[in-house]
C-alpha cells in the first residue's frame, strides 16, 4: 500500500477542508503548541477505524467533531478521507482489482460513524481488516502518539508485549 493523501473536514480544529499530501521519505510537521499537529495525526488513526475515543483524547467519539470557537458555531459532522494505492495488495472481497483506494469515515452527532471504501458502504471491521492486511492500522506500533514512549517505559510487561503483535 502507498498512502498518498489525507483529507479532513470538520475534524477537531480542522473545520475548513484540508488536504495533506503525503510523499516519500521524511515529512516534518511543525507549529506552535495547540495549533493542531496532533489533531492532524489523529485524523489518520480515525479513518483507519480507531475504535477508542480515549486514544483520541476524548470522552466520547463525538469529541472529534469541530466543537466551535468564540467566533464559529460547532459542526454536526466530521469526515476524513484517505487516498491510497493498492500496489501489491490483494483485492478486498466485493471489489474489482484496481490500483486506487479511497477510504472515508464520517461521524455525525448522535448517529455514529459511517465508513466507505471507493464509495461503497462498509463496516468498521472491513476498514480495519483492509489496513491490517497492509501491515498498518490504527493500533500499528509505527504510529507513536505524543507521550506514548513514556507509556511503553512505564507499561506492565504483559501490556508491553502487545507491541510484538505487529511483528508477528
Amino acid at each position: 500500500m502507498k498512502i498518498n493523501r489525507l483529507r479532513l473536514l470538520g475534524f477537531k480544529s480542522f473545520v475548513e477542508p484540508t488536504d495533506v499530501v503525503i510523499e516519500n521519505g521524511l515529512t516534518g510537521i511543525v507549529g506552535p503548541n495547540g495549533c493542531g499537529k496532533s489533531n492532524l495525526v489523529e485524523a489518520l488513526r480515525f479513518v483507519m477505524g480507531e475504535s477508542s475515543y480515549k486514544a483520541m483524547r476524548g470522552s466520547g467519539m463525538e469529541d472529534v467533531i469541530f466543537s466551535g470557537t468564540a467566533n464559529r458555531p460547532a459542526r454536526n459532522t466530521a469526515e476524513v478521507t484517505l487516498f491510497a494505492d493498492r500496489a501489491g495488495m490483494p483485492t478486498p472481497p466485493g471489489f474489482s482489482a484496481g490500483e486506487d483506494l479511497q477510504i472515508s469515515r464520517r461521524i455525525e452527532r448522535e448517529a455514529g460513524s459511517a465508513y466507505r471504501i471507493n464509495g461503497k458502504d462498509v463496516r468498521a471491521r472491513d476498514v480495519q481488516l483492509l489496513f491490517a492486511d497492509a501491515a498498518t492500522g490504527a493500533h500499528s506500533s509505527a504510529l507513536v502518539r505524543q507521550g506514548q514512549i513514556g507509556e511503553i517505559i512505564a507499561a506492565k510487561p504483559t501490556q508491553r508485549r502487545q507491541i510484538l503483535e505487529d511483528a508477528a
Partner: protein, 162 residues
Amino acid sequence: GRERLLAAFEVVNGHFESLFTHLFGGGAAELMLTESDDPLEAGLEIMARPPGKKPQTMSLLSGGEQALTAMALIFAVFLTNPSPICVLDEVDAPLDDANVERFCALLEDMRSRTETRFIVVTHNPITMARMDRLFGVTMAERGVSQLVSVDLQTAERFREAV
C-alpha cells in the same frame, strides 16, 4: 499463534540489540519474554546497559536514555514487518542535541531500507532541518487549524513564531 510470536520475537530481539548499540554508540541490551510458559500470556522485559555503565533496571535510566531504548524497540518491531506509514509525534522531546542527531540518522537509515513514508511532528530545529519537506500548522484564526507548506530555508524564521 505461539510459534509465530516466538519466531517474531527472535527477529525483533535481533534488530533491537543492534539498534540499541547503534543509537547509544556502544553498550548492550536485549529483550526477554518472561513470566509464563504460554508466550501469549508472557511479559516483555527490557534489559539495557548504556556504554560504560552497569546493567540496570529501566527505571534507573535517565529520561533520554529510556526514550532512546523505547525507540530502539519500536523500530525493531518496524523493521521486522515494515508498515507503509510511520507517524512519530514529538518523540524527540526528551533528547539532547547529540541524541536528536542520532535519531535523525536512524530515520534516514529507515528511509533507505524501506518504502515507508514517515510523518514526524517536532518542535526541534535539528529534526526540522533533516526532514525532506515541512508542513506548518497554524491558527491564524484562533481555534481553527490551517496547513501551510514551509520552505526548509525559511523554516528557521517560521518556527514557532506564529
